[in-house]
Symmetry: C2
Subunit: 443 residues, 2 copies
């Protein structure tokens, strides 16, 4: 009954069940191995739609599936809900939070990334990021309670501060959040308040660089900026955040420094590897990059440790582009999935006595949604890049995401939720749990 007490079958340990870990585990489905899949949570999260949970568009179970349910039919896999605190490469063991040790013959580390406040960890309390379900609930709480607080606030200046939403960082998450918040303020809430006009809310998207969606071609960045503006988002490019505190934030741009009062600042700017990355790198004498990601060999293993592979957002990997030159593999879900499948394939090769192969990233393109009817798409095709934006891009984005929501609750239920939200402009998950009342409103 227990795969982890059996014989001398090779033991594969996978840390983390994001896109990378999930794919690696699935790709080993019929392999003659014993897999232990360890995750801190009990669910796999469909991260690309997490902003929908944060903005009350979807309930959490629509994008989070219990890991052991996903793998119920994979008999060579044991799921453990646990947090890995350390790795002991000499003993070939990992150490869990309660001191328990798990042995492995092959280790796949797919523990992912977390927020980085660039050395300003005190900003975290005033500007939550969006990585986990808890983050999404916290942002949902702040957004919805900001409007509630405004309705109660007689002072016009303080009311304006409650109705000022600032998103920092104009990558895909920042752009999605800004577009959706503008949509909520302009379309969902008007008519439901008696003292305030929700449509008067300001939504600012603050970016240090010269354009939004910097990984996209320039023409699509410009299109995204125009679409954001049409939705009512104020896009502030070339703007550096100097401080974030309980009352708002301070920034600097070409016109000098400015202070803005806001009780709802959302952090979508920095990403760093989880702390386990540095610990692993130390134990294995592997280098890390500036974001704390572990520098891997071309085959995704660590130098001197062919039995350890690091994949997904935790890995600083390189892959040859179309011109043959090495480029960093981006921290996106398709890359994590590809690395997961590659790590699994390399384990199969190793077990068969064949050498591991180098990883090669296939870039099928890039897409980002902005809001109702707005998105940008950049696809690589054999005929060259295919780029489009606006309504068609939004429909493409919608179906791509519904399609990839595999294994989740019920794609039909999600589609119905969306269809209903689309026609009625409503947000079906506008629920804040009561715990909120113990905290100052609009903190």
């Amino acid at each position: 009954m227990s795969p982890d007490v059996a014989s001398n079958t090779p033991r594969i340990l996978i840390i983390g069940c994001g896109f990378g870990g999930l794919e690696a585990a699935r790709a080993l489905k019929n392999a003659p191995v014993q897999i232990t899949l360890v995750d801190r949570t009990n669910h796999h999260l469909f991260q690309p739609l997490l902003y929908q949970v944060a903005t009350a568009g979807l309930p959490a179970p629509s994008i989070a599936a219990p890991i052991r349910h996903l793998f119920r039919r994979q008999r060579n896999l044991l799921t453990l809900k646990a947090s890995v605190e350390d790795v002991d490469p000499k003993a070939k063991e990992v150490v869990l939070e309660d001191g328990q040790r798990l042995g492995y013959d092959h280790l796949i580390v797919a523990a992912g990334a977390t927020h980085s406040y660039f050395g300003h960890d005190d900003w975290a309390a005033h500007a939550p990021g969006l990585k986990s379900l808890d983050d999404a609930f916290e942002i949902r709480r702040r957004v919805l309670l900001a409007f509630e607080a405004a309705e109660r606030e007689p002072d016009p200046l303080r009311r304006a501060a409650h109705l000022c939403f600032v998103i920092i960082g104009a990558g895909p998450t920042g752009v999605e959040m800004a577009g959706t918040l503008a949509e909520i303020a302009r379309h969902t809430l008007p008519g439901e308040f008696r003292r305030i006009d929700p449509a008067s809310a300001r939504v600012l998207l603050v970016e240090g660089g010269p354009r939004v969606l910097q990984t996209m071609p320039e023409s699509l960045s410009e299109s995204a900026r125009r679409q954001l503006k049409a939705l009512g988002v104020e896009v502030k490019l070339g703007t550096r955040v100097l401080d974030i505190h309980a009352q708002g934030l301070r920034w600097a741009d070409t016109q000098g420094e400015q202070e803005l009062a806001s009780h709802c600042v959302i952090w979508a700017a920095g990403v760093a590897a989880v702390p386990l990355g540095r610990r692993l790198a130390e134990r294995c004498s592997a280098p890390t990059d500036r974001a704390g990601r572990v520098v891997v060999q071309p085959d995704l293993s660590l130098a001197g440790h062919p039995e350890i592979q690091v994949i997904g957002d935790l890995a600083a990997a390189q892959s040859p582009g179309p011109d043959g030159a090495l480029r960093p593999v981006p921290g996106v879900s398709p890359a994590a999935k590809q690395m997961g499948r590659h790590a699994a394939a390399n384990i199969r090769r190793t077990l068969a006595g064949r050498p591991a192969l180098p990883f090669r990233y296939r870039d099928y393109g890039n897409l980002a949604t902005i809001g109702r009817h707005s998105a940008v798409v950049d696809l690589g095709t054999p005929l060259g890049p295919w780029r489009f934006s606006g309504w068609a891009a939004w429909v493409f984005w919608l179906f791509a995401h519904i399609y990839f929501l595999i294994g989740f609750r019920n794609r039909l239920v999600v589609l119905l939720d969306w269809a209903s939200a689309y026609w009625t402009f409503s947000r079906p998950a506008r629920v804040v749990s009561e715990r909120a009342r113990q905290t100052a409103i609009g903190e």
Copy 2:
């Protein structure tokens, strides 16, 4: 734009948006009044299905609807998310948690009930009750993590403690929880674990009285007990709880005292009025009953304060039965709804210069679900009581609840969730947020 600054229109203040407050507000829809509806949360909760959220059958938004969305078209109503801390009947004002005061001409207090641990408030940490969404999330967390902890636990005794679920109190909530937990252990989870057999979990329903569902006729109580037994629930009647602590609980029955190790004890035994009830009673010199409910006049107002009405679970009201004798109005949702409509009607009568009428509770019957295919129904009909149980009762219960889920998200989505859960035995909302990892598993 702001109804609360206008003229001399009568100001109606409603505290609480449960079934009672909601119905009162709706019943005043076209009245020439200004209504302010105050609730601590931002949502109306469909309490009869809260156990489904606690047992991962439904996501929270399926049974919680934003209050201001429900009332968006009722222009004479202002929604405020606030907590009422005190009432000043002389000044005709209530005091909010931030000291702000709201004036009224008519006050409807529908603030509801909370758990009562019968003087053992220290039990609350070890045996959460089920009243709010937060309660439901906490119970969901404990139930799901108990199985996770068991899968990690090598010691058989400690493993058994993780797999022992105790529900205290065999009223409708206790019976629903016990039946559903047994269903999860026997039907949902088997096949998903590798080291434990979830079906070996014990589910105990502990009741001090001589039968389950004591408000039901004896024949249905006995039927419910048999249905629970068939689902695998151990029903312990005539059993008094002596202590609940971090490691389990101690009880006494005819065979003496016994200690049981369990990390998941759920409290479904005692209900008490919210603290605002006692404060209101003090201010108005009104009596309260043992559970802290405010004793009201036949017309639901307070003696000497015709402008204050108390309804729902907070009211100790009486109503003449079929034989004309006064009986306490039960703390069930149909009673709260009827009181809400009655309070609104009395306000209309008062405004029209007519006397308020006494409240008369109409008991249309009683139903309780037990689990898959199991329920009991007791309906009053002109031809006498109509009682049935089993599969037909379960179908009746299902459609009655879907029907009453008015104003919520999407009845179709809920029905789909249920249909899918029914056919696949899965529980679509088996998600525990990460905050869990900061707490000891199985605490």
